[in-house]
Symmetry: C2
Subunit: 313 residues, 2 copies
């Protein structure tokens, strides 16, 4: 004698272990069974076992406290209650389909990408290449964040960053793109005047243009500070563009990227001071999978690679 529940129905699989409530996926099962009429063909469509469907329908009926189907040898036939729910279930299905469609559109190469980088690189390197990029990816809107002191990738101020310093922590992916060469530069007039005075490697009487206090951690600033040995610089500023202008005006020597200084018509003071810096592409690790982010990243990598000579000096 089998055990029976209150309705004289044998106690089944799902009554043994008290099931959890309704799950959205059960609705999908409900629809498939309602349409096919039999568990077997519905199972074939869903790539599930027959037993699974039987249990899911039972779980759904228990959760809803509603008989959805009449079980017959010829298959599962909808009850009046079940038929009334078909419409609602189909709405769910339509929403699910809309969701997956939304996925493919979200995966498109479109949307906003925020790139943090130094102002000089932005204007001198990236901006000139932007038309080409937009031609290739018309859907992407690039946003350049050059306020580098406050940029924090972890706070989502930007999606990517082109940086000279290696971030130690943070859930980011690093990619070294190339090298940015730095040198000592001054105006042609300043250099001509200087050469008559002393050796190239002696800076005791030189005027220097360097970074302000807040950028004192930069390698360039530290190099200048070391050379000055306590003397005051001729000018401190928080922007490289200002340093460039000051050097051009003949105020003194500045540590500048080779390509910027040369293109501005400045003259190098010494050949190499060992201040070359790596260029890193930093990406939020979670975003490495994003199509539009990768498009920008690849674009930047190609850009730096094609300008390798120019950048390293």
């Amino acid at each position: 004698m089998k055990k029976m529940n209150e309705f004289g129905k044998p106690i089944s699989d799902y009554e043994k272990h008290m099931p959890r409530g309704w799950v959205w996926d059960d609705t999908r099962t409900f629809l498939a069974v309602a349409r096919h009429g039999t568990l077997s063909s519905a199972a074939a469509e869903l790539n599930l076992g027959i037993a699974t469907l039987s249990r899911r329908i039972e779980r759904l009926e228990n959760a809803l406290k509603l008989p959805l189907f009449v079980r017959q040898q010829s298959g599962y036939q909808l009850t009046e209650e079940g038929a009334g729910l078909i419409e609602k279930a189909e709405a769910l299905e339509a929403a699910a389909a809309a969701f997956t469609r939304g996925v493919s559109s979200a995966a498109q190469l479109s949307g906003r990408v925020r790139l943090a980088t130094a102002e000089n690189l932005a204007t001198a390197l990236i901006l000139p290449a932007l038309p080409q990029f937009y031609a290739q990816y018309p859907g992407i809107t690039l946003e350049l964040v050059t306020d580098i002191t406050t940029v924090n990738l972890h706070r989502r101020d930007a999606d990517l960053a082109l940086r000279m310093v290696k971030p130690e922590r943070g859930n980011v992916t690093l990619r070294r793109l190339g090298t940015l060469g730095f040198g000592l530069y001054a105006s042609p007039g300043y250099v001509a005047q200087r050469e008559s005075l002393h050796d190239a490697g002696d800076f005791d009487t030189d005027a220097f243009i360097t970074w302000g206090e807040t950028q004192a951690h930069l390698p360039a600033a530290q190099w200048v500070e070391r050379v000055l040995r306590g003397r005051a610089p001729a000018l401190t500023t928080t922007s490289m563009a200002t340093q460039l202008a000051a050097a051009k005006a003949g105020l003194g020597i500045a540590v500048l990227p080779h390509f910027l200084a040369r293109e501005a018509g400045l003259v190098g003071v010494v050949a190499d001071i060992g201040l070359d810096q790596p260029i890193y592409l930093v990406i939020q690790t979670d975003l490495t999978q994003s199509a539009r982010i990768r498009a920008v990243a690849d674009f930047l990598a190609a850009l730096v690679a094609s300008n390798r000579e120019r950048l390293s000096g």
Copy 2:
């Protein structure tokens, strides 16, 4: 050193065992995490573990091949892609809510109920009580199926049946409601004529009205056949109403329910011939949980109970 995948991301739980595709329920998880911003509070809402949510989001991202969140110490923050999917996910959620609302309306006491029963019971017993039933359940539409020979509960010709015979097989629930008493009846004129001829228990010269061939399996038909001992009946018919009319016309003796015969003005020939039959209420087992079916079932049970004397004779 931890193993890494192609993006430098550590290989996680879900990459170990190849996961299945997208399940609708993951969308619900996605919404909860997006709204709460952290796994922990989302987990509290969903009554799930933190680890579960983490894995579900990861599974969803893998299935969609789309980064949905940026993981930070302050929690999960939506990516551009994820934000674009929120709207679609909310549509899914709304559809799910509509579904559950649909459940409560489907559970209402409304809809069509098909009741199979013998014609005589339908007209003489059920019909008179219908106004009272409809007053109590205005939403239910009762459909009486009296073509009893073809009724097959298994084919969903009807939801319930009031029957005299016990179904042997089928996924049905049985409920005995009472007894229907049968007796031998004839017109007053026939009986008066007959009494002058012979004993009440001797039927050798009596004319009988009985069922046609297709109803030969009925207890009443078999009783008559036994009594006739090869003689031909005066009339065979496939409807009890016809038998009643024939008996009333004085054509002979018929086996009829007490209450029908008496109310038609017929006279009993012998007191008791042992042909009383049980009245069963037969319900599709799957439908016993249905509110509207139960309403009809309970109504029928009360109806038979309140007519017990009249039916059993």
